[in-house]
């Protein structure tokens, strides 16, 4: 059973929320929609769920016109970024709600709800009121509610974004194990997120969305290795990929008084207006390197992020340990230039270290 969309467009005001979005989702697969905030992720999920009607385009599921099916008959489940539950019902009834909408006897409802409580680790909480639970537990209840009905399409709209760091890590692990269990066999799982790391960890098929337009589709690894354009590179890296305007000639890359021997995949590029892209993790401290000035140093978790400056260029590097730097410190760094990307003047990928579009 495939979920096929054709040129979905939704433009409620000046800006496009969806701009000719097309896809073909197959059952048993996990799809990740990656995009910044306001890129149209939620709109797309709501359109699939039936909460929004697109201005034009078509959605087909199992060979039927999905847009003609009212929301409550679509057999879709959805988990939202806000924790949405029924405030007047207790945990058990919240999870049982989708089952009560069908003719299912009480015994079976009880079994299914208990099973689903077990899978999200909330056994023993069934008689609690929703308001008595923490945010993470509330989100688990809505996850359990979406799992219990065995929907053919499961939509998860940034389900972790409103949780604190620890819970996010923990639930992400649980998601991964849930997705890898039987659930994934006949369900189309669609997961939207702004976090590239989440995308890579879930390791599904990725759809990169920006301003309502699909920029690139492919497996997570492919998006990471060969981003099709500058924008994708920006969206799929956190911190965003460093973009440096450079000149390549005689197998040398030149920028801001620095001259580096170009690696093979870059050496034959001759276009003007080239931009070099380099991940923050592909820059390292080196005594014999090039001098940069520290503009800002931030420690996040076990990582140190350095905002560096040299002349007119600004870059970000990340170091996998906690180090102390002072603002205006001068440090020396080196580039792992064999892992650099090149983008043409129009933003398209010109060459990647993984062989994409190799010139």
């Amino acid at each position: 059973m495939n979920l096929i969309a054709n040129n979905l467009t939704y433009k409620p005001s000046e800006e496009y929320h969806l701009n000719e979005v097309s896809f073909n989702f197959k059952e048993g697969n996990l799809y990740t929609i990656l995009g910044r905030t306001l890129s149209g992720k939620t709109t797309l999920l709501k359109t699939i769920a039936g909460l929004l009607t697109p201005d034009s385009g078509a959605i087909e599921f199992d060979g039927k016109d999905f847009l003609k099916v009212p929301v409550w008959q679509r057999n879709v489940a959805m988990v939202y970024q806000q924790f949405i539950n029924y405030p007047h019902l207790n945990v058990f009834e919240n999870i049982a709600f989708p089952l009560r909408q069908r003719k299912i006897d009480n015994e079976e409802i009880k079994n299914k709800v208990m099973e689903s409580l077990k899978s999200v680790g909330l056994v023993g909480y069934e008689n609690r009121k929703i308001q008595e639970l923490s945010g993470g537990q509330q989100q688990r209840v809505s996850l359990a509610r979406s799992l219990v009905k065995n929907a053919k399409i499961l939509l998860l709209d940034e389900p972790l974004v409103n949780l604190d760091y620890k819970l996010r890590e923990q639930l992400r692990e649980e998601f991964k194990s849930l997705f890898s269990k039987g659930l994934a066999d006949e369900t189309i799982l669609i997961y939207s997120t702004t976090d590239p790391r989440e995308t890579m960890e879930l390791n599904g098929e990725v759809i990169v969305l920006d301003e309502g337009k699909v920029l690139q589709v492919g497996p997570a690894k492919e998006i990471f290795e060969n981003p099709s354009s500058l924008k994708v590179a920006e969206i799929s890296n956190d911190p965003p990929m460093n973009i440096i305007e450079a000149e390549i000639s005689n197998e040398q890359i030149r920028f801001e008084g620095i001259e580096i021997k170009a690696p093979n995949h870059l050496s034959k590029l001759t276009d003007s207006g080239l931009k070099i892209g380099l991940r923050s993790s592909d820059i390292e401290l080196n005594e014999n390197g090039h001098e940069f000035e520290v503009e800002l140093a931030e420690i996040s978790g076990s990582e140190t992020l350095l905002h560096l400056k040299r002349g007119t260029i600004k870059i970000i590097m990340s170091i996998e340990e906690v180090l102390n730097f002072k603002i205006h410190d001068k440090i020396k760094i080196d580039f792992k230039i064999d892992r650099a990307y090149a983008f043409a003047a129009d933003g398209k990928l010109a060459s990647s270290p993984f062989g994409g579009n190799n010139g």
Binding site: A49, G50, L51, V71, W72, Q73, R74, N75, V76, A77, M78, Y80, Q82, I84, N85, Y86, P87, H88, L89, F97, P98, R100, Q101, R102, S142, R145, K149
Partner: protein, 287 residues
């Protein structure tokens, strides 16, 4: 906080409370123990004679009380159902939403007494437009002079006059509900009807209880409608407690006896409204 003149600041509020609530209640109790009437004005003391008369020798009071219970419960139920339906209708995105919202409030903004005069003219048996139309079908119901039909007329006028108030309370309630449970319910497979039964109605329960109790208190004071429409008639068939107390106290000037009725009425109302509120809470909130 320990300073001596704090009582001074309490005084204005306390003064008002004593002046308009506590003193009148105590005075009514004292009055009910006296035989004050037009021949015999003054606060003499006759014990509980008035209460004995009320409980053993005045079926008219109890009849009017049960009539009042019937009228107020019926009108409030009708107001709740109609008010909820109207509020639900303009809560959704329909055309001319604002127009309808204002339109439904018009009856509340009119003067009850004047509107009742208009209703009386409306239902006049020989001159009113209602019977003029119905006469074409060979009907001429006695809206105001048939004992059963007169009650029905009172109910119509009351419902027309006060449904907007219920509508307003319930619409405010609906507008304050969180949107998310409705999104969830749609996706969870609830059709619009089931959505109303399992989500909208339970979420509205606390507001419904409040609105019903407020309207019950208001409705049990019903006086002006009856006074203008039927003057309690025909006979005593539309007479309510407050109207009967008014007749005894301010027409026949049996002040002592009217006071004993007022006080009895107050106690009964406090007890029954408390019970009703408790029952409603149990029924609707399942607590």
């Amino acid at each position: 906080m320990n300073f001596k003149h704090k009582y001074f600041f309490l005084f204005p509020g306390l003064f008002v409370l004593i002046g308009i609530l506590i003193f009148p209640i105590i005075f009514v109790v004292r009055l009910s123990l006296s035989g004050w009437n037009s021949y015999n004005p003054g606060l003499d003391f006759i014990g509980i004679e008035n209460y004995i008369r009320l409980f053993t020798d005045d079926p008219r009071f109890w009849e009017s009380f049960f009539r009042l219970s019937f009228l107020s419960v019926t009108t409030v139920i009708l107001q709740y159902v109609i008010g909820f339906a109207l509020a639900h209708m303009v809560w959704k995105d329909i055309k001319f939403k604002r127009f309808f919202r204002v339109l439904f409030l018009v009856p509340m903004m009119t003067t009850p007494v004047i509107m009742t005069v208009i209703w009386r003219t409306f239902f006049h048996e020989s001159l009113g437009p209602v019977n003029d139309i119905l006469s074409n079908f060979g009907l001429s119901p006695k809206w105001l002079t048939d004992p059963a039909l007169a009650k029905f007329t009172v109910i119509i006028v009351e419902v027309w006059q006060w449904t907007p108030f219920m509508f307003l309370l319930l619409l405010a309630g609906l507008l304050s509900l969180p949107k998310e449970p409705f999104l969830a319910a749609a996706i969870d497979g609830a059709s619009p009807v089931r959505k109303f039964i399992y989500v909208t109605f339970p979420l509205m329960a606390p507001i419904s209880i409040g609105a019903i109790i407020i309207r019950l208190i208001e409705a049990s004071k019903i006086m002006d409608t009856v006074y203008v429409l039927t003057s309690g008639g025909p006979g005593t068939s539309t007479e309510t407690s407050s109207f009967y107390i008014f007749i005894k106290g301010l027409r026949e000037f049996q002040m002592g006896y009217a006071a004993s009725m007022s006080f009895t009425y107050l106690i009964i109302m406090i007890i029954s409204l408390t019970i009703i509120a408790k029952v409603l809470t149990k029924l609707l909130l399942k607590e």
